[in-house]
Amino acid sequence: MPPDAEEPTPATRGVHDLGGASGWGRIPYEADEPPFHADWERRVFGLLGPVTSATTRRPGEFRYALERLHPDDYFDNGYFGRWLAGFEVLLAEYEVFGPVDYSARLEARTGPIPSEVRRMSPELRVAPVADRVPSMLPPDRPVPVPQRRTVRRDLAEPPRFGTGDRVVAPTPTQPGHTRLPGYVMDKPGTVAKLHPAEVLPDSTAHNRGERPQHVYCVGYDARTLWGDDAEPNATVYVDLYECYLTAAESD
């Protein structure tokens, strides 16, 4: 379970948006960890391909299913527990099979189950994707899609910003999936490098088209992000899609 937040966070930050969140304790470090700690984790990992094939392979859509989970489902069983809950969300939303089928299978293993633990049912504790439609996406600019499956796209338009430019990503006013971490919102940073252009996950996660964007590696001085709490001599680099950014006023 997440600790109680000690400070207000912007309304747009979801359960997954953890960067800089206070109250978390020691890193649960274990030397030379294996990829799986239990057989059920192995089975969940193996189902990633089948579940996404049966539902969606659009970039960001599985992640957005995870981001809409109730905090208990996000945290309680770790990374693969989160995936499992995300599979349940996608399989229900894509109606691959129904809650009756699924409950029957669970009950065949456990005996009658109370409705509060029933999965893929109306009680499934997940924010419906249909209620969270991004309304302020950048205009689409279709470009040739490469033959190889990749999110990279070649954009004809030149990038708006260059290395060394000061930029800021304002707090979004729309709901939906985004790759903009809350801890850099409204903070000025400096473009360190351009990455290859990519489709925009904020759009593809909602089946709203590719809307490819230039992607910038933006460096933030730790003092800008954390103020007096900042450790000395540290920079955090975050990769941001062009539509997130505006020119920062010079300081």
Binding site: H16, L18, G19, G20, A21, S22, W24, R26, I27, Y29, E30, A31, E33, P35, F36, A38, D39, W40, E41, R42, R43, V44, F45, G46, L47, P50, A54, R63, L66, F75, G78, Y79, L84, E88, L91, V96, F97, L106, R109, T110, G111, I113, V117, R119, L180, P181, Y183, H195, P196, E198, D229, E231, P232, N233, A234, T235, V236, Y237, V238, D239
Partner: protein, 210 residues
């Protein structure tokens, strides 16, 4: 939510309730297999590849080659995608790779605060601590404290660069080559390179056992 439950249903799964991941993944897998949407042999093959064939030894080979060859090191730091393609490394989560070199005065460390993104085809699946909320929350705010907690002390003059994998770019840290390894063949160098050193939470230790 994890209710007590009676035993003795005469069923081997009855030590789990219906909210347990063990029961849920079995039910999902059965339903998908019955509908022809999943194949148990392919599921096993996929997981076995990530348990045996895809792991930190792939990234370690890249690091060792870069230690041994200054020209390759330069290419790795400026165009890692080309080096990865030349070495015929393929697979998931390496759409675009950036390699960041640790050197005297600069230390790099990688995180994904929003998810748990990681260069699977170079390092295998990430360890739990990398995916933990503790690491994701803290390493961007207090990287020195986190690294010290994990056994890596940095002096105040060393600049810390934290790379948050928020787009599809994936990062690999090129650790510093330890002294006392001059003339070693790349196979032997690669054996020194740990997963933790390529995430940036450890140094590669001297072969003298320091």
């Amino acid at each position: 939510m994890h209710d007590d439950h009676g035993h003795g249903h005469g069923h081997h799964h009855d030590h789990h309730d219906a909210s347990s991941p063990e029961v849920r993944v079995e039910a999902l897998e059965d339903l998908l297999v019955e509908r022809g949407l999943a194949d148990r042999e392919r599921i096993d093959a996929t997981t076995q590849r990530f348990e045996h064939d895809i792991g930190p030894m792939i990234g370690a080979r890249l690091v060792a080659e870069a230690w041994a060859d200054a020209g390759l090191r330069r290419r790795l730091l400026t165009d890692a995608d080309a080096v990865v393609a030349d070495m015929d490394i393929r697979g998931a989560e390496i759409e675009h790779i950036e390699v960041k070199a640790n050197e005297p005065g600069v230390h790099n460390v990688v995180v994904c605060t929003l998810c748990s993104c990681y260069p699977w085809a170079l390092l295998g699946l990430p360890p739990n601590w990398y995916k933990s909320p503790e690491y994701r929350a803290r390493v961007v705010r207090e990287p020195r404290r986190v690294l010290a907690e994990m056994g890596l002390e940095l002096d105040a003059e060393t600049e810390v660069r934290v790379w948050d994998s928020s787009s599809e770019t994936r990062f690999l840290v090129l650790p510093e080559r330890p002294a006392g390894t001059e003339g070693w063949p790349t196979e032997r160098l690669a054996e020194l390179v740990t997963r933790d050193s390529m995430i940036g939470v450890a140094r590669v230790t001297d072969p003298g056992g320091q």
